[in-house]
Each structure stands twice: as C-alpha cells, then as structure tokens.
Amino acid sequence: MRTAKLNREPRWLKPTLMTVALTFLAVFIFLPVYTIFHEALAAGVFAYFGYFRDPEIFSAIKLTLLTALICVPVNTFFGVLTAWCVTKFEFRGKNVLITMIEIPFAISPVIAGLLFIFLFGSFGWVGSWLIEHNLKIVFAVPGIVLATAFVTFPFVARELIPLMQELGKDDEEAAMTLGAGGLQTFFRVTLPNIKWGLLYGVILTNARAIGEFGAVAVVSGLIRGVTTTMPLYIEILYNEYMFSAAFAVASLLTLLALVTLTVKAILERFIAAQRKIKN
C-alpha cells in the first residue's frame, strides 16, 4: 500500500504535523485518562475495589445501569419508529418533525432538566396533580430516567433517517408486492439493511445515557443512594474531599465509555467491510 510520491509537499511537513497532532492528543486525551486511573489507584488496588462496596456508590452504579437499561430499548424502539415514519411515508410537516427530533441536541441539558421540573414539579401543570396522588416524577428515579431519555432520544433516529432516505422504499415495496406483511417486511427487509446504522445509534444512546450529567443534576434532588447516578456521585465525592473514591467511580465510568468506544470501532470496521462486499 505505498502511495506514489506525486505530491510536492516538503519532507518535513508530515512528521511535523504528526508530532503536533500526537502531542496534542497526548496532552488532552491520554494524560487525563491516565490521570483518572492513576488517581483512582492512588490508595492501592485493595482500597480501589473497597470503594465499590460502599452502598451509596453501589446504588449509584445500579441507578446508572438501570437508567441505560430503560432508555436504550425505549429510544431504540421510538427512534426506529420515527425514522420509519419520516422516510417511508409522505405527509405534511415532515420537515418540521425532522427538525423537532433534534431539539434535545440543540438545547442545553440544564434546560432539558428544568423543563421536567416545570412540568412535573409542584408548580407544574401535571406536577401538582401527581403529587396529590403520591406519584413522584422529579426528585425521584422516574425523573432521572425521563430526563435521560429526553436527551438521548435523537441518536437512533438521527443515525437512521439519512440511511433510510438513501435506501429508499424500493425494497419494501418489492416485498409488499410479493405478499409480505408489514412486520415481515420490517424484519426481513428493512432491519437487515439498517442494522449496522441502528447498532451505531444504540451505542451512542448508551454512551450518553450513562454519562449524562446536566439534565439529571437538575431533576435529581441529590438524594444519596436513591437519585444519585454515577456522574452525580463523582461530583459529590469530589466535593467531599474523597478524591480517590471520586476517581475510582470515574475510572469505572471511563471503562464503560472505553468499552462502548471499542464496540463502536469494531462496528465501524464491520460496516466498512459490508459496504465493500456490496460494491
């Protein structure tokens, strides 16, 4: 795979640019990630694993995983549904709908959180009724899940819409003419076409669901062991001078992110390989 030396760039340019880029990466990415693990293990490996036995830290991990476990399937389902509606049907206001999908990305997470307070808080439209009936949304687990679902909604739909627009409706129409039902068409024809894009969207949803801070911080009420997710608890630990514990939780969160990124990288290679086969 040697490229012909057709370009006239000076010989020093490539190494210089490489050095600059790598130094930048080292300082802004590798060093911070290294610091997280270094600080987390500052009090020793034994202490490191001890932190995770703390009931409040443990429940923060549990809550974060539960939130992701609910938000990812729900947003996958509705993301696919939205993408399907937008790309397979013609209707008025379609462009408005496509723009609306991006609202959770466009607004600050703090506003997303406040929105739920205004809706479900004791001053809210529905909130006062809910509170009278002993249903807690904000300052409770449902609020955390709702806020996370809101900010992570666009990932799947955004990933799928361009892909499905590109694919067009021909395959589905062919399947229908051959007598396939709606569900059969979806699972036999559409899903195989979009599966990699869909998985990519799911992974991004998961990454954000696990890491969301701003929106969740607003609706949490910071009730320890009940409404504190991992990102929230990291900040709490840090403010309470428990730096090693804070970095221990941070390292776990980073690990989750690294796993997600690795899966994403593998998927990307798969997608590229698939495209090659097709072409």
Binding site: G121, A140, I223
Partner: protein, 351 residues
C-alpha cells in the same frame, strides 16, 4: 429466529418496566418501617452520617420500629428551592432560617403551603439545635500575620469567600465583617460599608458555595485567608490540608444558627410525623449535642458546650436578630437584587 429474539426482547423490557414500577412504589409500603429524607446543606454530611446511625439505634430500642434516613446535600438555597419545587423532604436542616422562610412563602403563594409561618418557635432555641460561627483559615505559620478582621482590608491580603447571592455561608461572612466594623467604629454604618467594600476589593474569586471556596483556598492554593464555617475549617486542618493551614479566631464573629424543622405536608403524606419530630428532638439530647460538638458544631446545651471548649473556644458573637433585626430585614438591606452587596460589587467593577 428474529421473531424469537423480538419476543425475548419484549419480555425483557416488560420485566424491566414491572420491576422498576414495584421499586418506585416501594416507598409507600406501610408498617413499622419508616423512611425519612433529610434535606440539608453542604457541610453537614459528616454530622448527619454519624447522627443518623445513633438515632436509628435509639429509635429501634425505644419503639421497636426501624427508621432509614436518606440524606441530600447541596447549597442551602438550592436545597430550599428543590423542596419548593417538589423534593419531598421530611425534615429540613438548612444553613439559615431565611431559606426555610422562603419555603413557607413560596409554597404559600402557590396555595400549597408546606409548613406554618411559626415553624421556628416549635423547637427549642429558635429551632437551632447547634450553632456555628465564622473563623479564619490561613496558611500554616500565618505568613501574612492575619489576626483579626481589620487585617483583611490590607491591600496585601487576598481573601477567599463565596458569593453571598448563592451561598448561605457567604452571607454570614459578610455580616460578620460588617458587625466587626460597626463595633469598632461606634456603629457608623457608612464606615462599616467602606470596611466591607475594602475586603471585597481583595477577593479574587467568588465561588458559588462554601465547599467550592474551601477547595479554591485549600486545593488550588489561592488567597491568603479563607472565611470559613468553623466546622469546615476543622475539617480542613484535620484532614485534607493537614499541616498546611491553621485556624485564626477573630476577636468578634457572628453566631450562625443553622435551623431545622419537619415539613408538615410531607410528613403527613408519608405518615412520618412522629418519627420526624423524634428525630429533630433527639438533636437536642445530650447524645445529639455531643455528636454536634464532635463534628465542630457548637452545642446549644451550655453543659455539653463546656466539654468542647478546647476546639470551640468562647468568643464575642453577635446575632442576626439582635444586631441586624432578623434575616428578612438583613436580606432586604444587604443581599436582595440591587441592595448593598450588589452596589458594592458594581462600585468595585467601575474602578
């Protein structure tokens, strides 16, 4: 195959939703098991962690019932606001009575008043089971030789204090400086204002809360002196900054009265009225008072107070009620939008 997968996925999602539902409603279970939510401010975490355990044990021995107490900590004003917006605190243990008054006023305006106006008279000592005061934290060896409030007006002394607009602790700092200036200038208000203005001229950064300010001083090494809650100052010298900082007690300071109350509407709804009252009353018991003292809060019981004079020495303390006419008045005069503090900051920025 795919249909099978879908079926399994649906089942799984259903199970998750059902499991989650039963978890969410679990708190409503009746019986001899009580849950209390204590919504408090930043620096009380260590105090209540210890107190909760002792109280749970005491309560079980006395009544045979179990009680689990969950805690929430953030800036005092932010916590009051969360309760106004619907965080269902059973008990509120905040930095100052004004924040609890705000809960009364804001929820009253909404037609859903959570607790009565006279809440502060329901428990002994103005509902302040422990008090605290403001002291100085300086670098070890006191290199700038800071002894009292007047040293803070020196141009070579940089003071770290949080923003009184957002931090309860910062308001106490500001008023303590004002009180000192009044006492040393024959109660001349104009001179007191000039004195306070000179201090804020040397404040490099206004953090939003007491913990943030402590981090700025201790971790980031900014400034020469930190105005701190007495208990925060002890936490610094005993733990995070051992051997790096020391406490200086000024000649005069202010008596900060963190106040506590149960939130009537919430405890009625949760069926926790009795246990919430018992919890707060236990703060006044000898044992509760000792836990406060051990965590560097000044016990309101003078007898228990005597046990802690080594760490919490007596000093001249002014009070918000006697010297500033109560919180409502002090707040309107100094901290409301466009009031004294805003004016001082604007004047300083113009320079």
């Amino acid at each position: 195959m795919r249909m099978q997968f879908l079926g399994r996925a649906t089942l799984f999602a259903l199970a998750a939703v059902v499991g989650f539902g039963s978890w969410a409603t679990g708190s409503a279970r009746a019986g001899e098991e009580f849950k209390l939510l204590n919504v408090s401010y930043d620096p009380t975490r260590e105090l209540y962690k210890e107190f909760n355990e002792v109280f749970a044990k005491y309560y079980r021995e006395k009544t045979g019932n179990t009680v689990t107490i969950t805690q929430s900590h953030a800036g005092s004003t932010a916590q009051a606001n969360a309760v106004i917006q619907g965080n269902e605190a059973d008990v509120l243990t905040l930095a100052l009575a004004y924040d609890i008054d705000e809960v009364v006023n804001k929820t009253k305006a909404n037609g859903k008043q959570l607790l009565p106006e006279n809440w502060q008279s329901r428990l002994p000592k103005n509902s302040a089971p422990y008090t605290s005061t403001i002291v100085f934290l300086v670098r070890v060896g006191n290199p700038k030789n800071i002894k009292d409030w007047n040293d803070l007006t020196r141009s070579d002394v940089k003071t770290i204090t949080p923003d009184p607009k957002t931090s309860g602790g910062a308001r106490w700092n500001y008023l303590a400086a004002w009180a000192y200036a009044l006492a040393n200038n024959g109660n001349d208000d104009a001179k007191a204002r000039e004195f306070v203005k000179q201090i804020y001229a040397n404040v490099p950064v206004l953090d939003s809360g007491a913990r943030g300010a402590t981090n700025t001083f201790v971790q980031k090494g900014q400034g020469d002196v930190l105005l701190a809650w007495e208990n925060e100052a002890y936490l610094s010298i005993n733990d995070v900054a051992k051997g790096k900082v020391e406490i200086v007690v000024p000649s005069l300071s202010i008596r900060a009265e963190p106040t506590v109350t149960w939130v009537d509407k919430n405890v009625e709804r949760h069926g926790t009225t009795e246990v919430a009252k018992e919890y707060l009353n236990y703060l006044y018991s000898k044992e509760g008072q000792r836990i406060a003292g051990k965590n560097y809060y000044r016990p309101s019981d003078p007898e228990v107070g005597k046990e802690f004079t080594d760490t919490l020495p007596e000093l001249k303390l002014v009070t918000i009620d006697d010297d500033f006419g109560g919180w409502a008045k002090a707040y309107a005069r100094h901290f409301a939008d466009g009031a004294e503090f805003d004016q001082i900051i604007t004047e300083l920025h113009k320079k």
